[in-house]
Symmetry: C2
Subunit: 395 residues, 2 copies
Amino acid sequence: MRWNVARRARNVNSSVIREALKLAERPGIISFAGGLPAASTFPVQAFAEACARVLRDNGQAALQYGSTEGLGSLREHVAGMLPWPVDPAQVLITTGSQQGLDMVAKVLVDPGSRVLVETPTYLGALQAFAPMEPELEGVPGDDDGVDMQALQAAATNGEPARLLYLLPNFQNPTGRTMSEPRRAQLVQLAERLALPLVEDNPYGELWFEQQPPPALSARNADGCIYLGTFSKVLSPGVRLGYVVAPRPLIGPLLQAKLAVDLHTSTFTQHVVAEVLRDGFLERHVPAIRELYRLQRDTMLAALTREMDGLGVQWNRPQGGMFLWLRLPHGLDAAELLPLAAARGVAYVPGAPFHAHAPDPRSLRLSYVTATREQIDSGIARLADSVRDALQRRAA
Amino acid sequence: MRWNVARRARNVNSSVIREALKLAERPGIISFAGGLPAASTFPVQAFAEACARVLRDNGQAALQYGSTEGLGSLREHVAGMLPWPVDPAQVLITTGSQQGLDMVAKVLVDPGSRVLVETPTYLGALQAFAPMEPELEGVPGDDDGVDMQALQAAATNGEPARLLYLLPNFQNPTGRTMSEPRRAQLVQLAERLALPLVEDNPYGELWFEQQPPPALSARNADGCIYLGTFSKVLSPGVRLGYVVAPRPLIGPLLQAKLAVDLHTSTFTQHVVAEVLRDGFLERHVPAIRELYRLQRDTMLAALTREMDGLGVQWNRPQGGMFLWLRLPHGLDAAELLPLAAARGVAYVPGAPFHAHAPDPRSLRLSYVTATREQIDSGIARLADSVRDALQRRAA
């Protein structure tokens, strides 16, 4: 049989990341590569109790088909926990927030549509948008977020862009957070340009010193689609996320959701709604913040100690899971990776996170999966690899 | 904000079904409309025990991210339970088999690709294919399955069709089953035409008198994609299905799966793998078969009794959940529906299940959600509605 594969399924170029994650799985490797939350934070006991209660009190309903928009009580919980007025009717439960990206692309992107993204940005968003065959355009930025002039230029360069996709809080991959003034400017500019914003906020609750500035959606809910998830505050394995969307998009989004999996697991929705009762997250999330803050501090201290004099640069994330590092001039993060893996440490090269013009010197480090001891030792190994590569280059 | 909705998200025409399901939710209505399995068959206790064991023995892994292809033990179970040789490496776990349809369309269908479907066929497949903007072409058939001459004509009429989608067993919506000779002919013709088959088999285990003939995939695994699900034999609420695909498609399908939800819930996969241990389905499924067989018999008897002399036709499904009914000449199932609802019974009109040339006299009845008492009374109400409509028409 000769299979005629669709155009969108050819030329998939995520091999760099796949190779990185494969290296990271080798025995003895300290991995800063994946984005796995620390499993020690998962509330296993709360899940066990919730499962027992749900199946005792409501077992048949929890195992039956459910509504496409999601469980009413969970949608109400989500609406209530967001810090701006949200009607539960505008909340759709998704199978992880990754699915929200697929739905958004299906509803807003035609083949050839112009789609703007921060660059670098979350690779999974690029992968979710790609099957709808958009023209992706990366908007550069700085530590405060996307650049306003670059955005204006990109938005008005050709037919109107269908959306701008952003992660304002502790971004994946860079860990950076959009500043308050930049948010205000951005929402104003987007309104003026009639440019829809897609705000992805998986990490916003994982702040260390202070809460990030209010969401873009809180400033102009009618012009934003907001994506959230329980993956980073509860469990990624349940695959529960949500989309908050302006009313005109609810119908098309529901239709897209229906076509892709009918609805998100009724069972996991019932269980998570039960876990969330009585303010569970308010008690649970501070412990995750504290753990990740300590791990970030450990990584920052180790970088300062180990990278001394190597010409390596990095940022100081104020929350979330990732730190962004730049190798010295002349080094390439993808080329360094096998050397680093040989020394027992792995990361993800930064190039694939860029829609265009990859920065080959950049790489992403996660500080949440490895223990503090592993972080110390892994950063030392990474420094050795850099030293090694610099010497090879000089030779 | 003016939202520019993608072409594929406009003109979505499932309003007939939505209206039918809305009517079916009215208090006091006996519904033959939905495709809800009988909740009394859900193994609530087995789920409770499995959840407790999984969270006790393996809680952190069950709540963590998992691999895109699915849990190894579940893939092995699926490979082992299929009655032809299947390598677990060719099994991908999906978020319900609906998601398998989305993945298949993403991987095989370009905008404008010709896609063949039985007509009538599963509406959810039409909805899953639609976002990829194929040219859908319905292939007519009879009680034995698709017509070979019509298929040959459709397959060779223009550029090669990308796939033929079929439900050979107890089809949704018609309840019909493809005969052994037709299957043999079909697989031979598809091979000759190099026409990929997508075989959807949600109901195959729900046979009443005898097992249906072997799957199309068992005859030519290299030319078929097979979709299965635990929805009808265990619980639809867990949203667990699977795709068995030829090797060249595994990579593209995995990429599509990654982009849409990263992976299916690790938690539900662990729980279902635990439920399935020690041959659970072999003990559990016979009870579902027996219940549904009795309910089908009740409906057939009620139809014979109540529809006498009305010129209504129906078939006798050999398994599954649905029966196909044809109203007398001059009646329209969509027009009859409000009358039927006023008398306290609901169904789904058959027209939307057709890719083209809808048959307005046809309608689908589910015999698995209502009790036997409700079936008796609901069919009497339906007969009254038909009588009423015939009288109005005569008047």
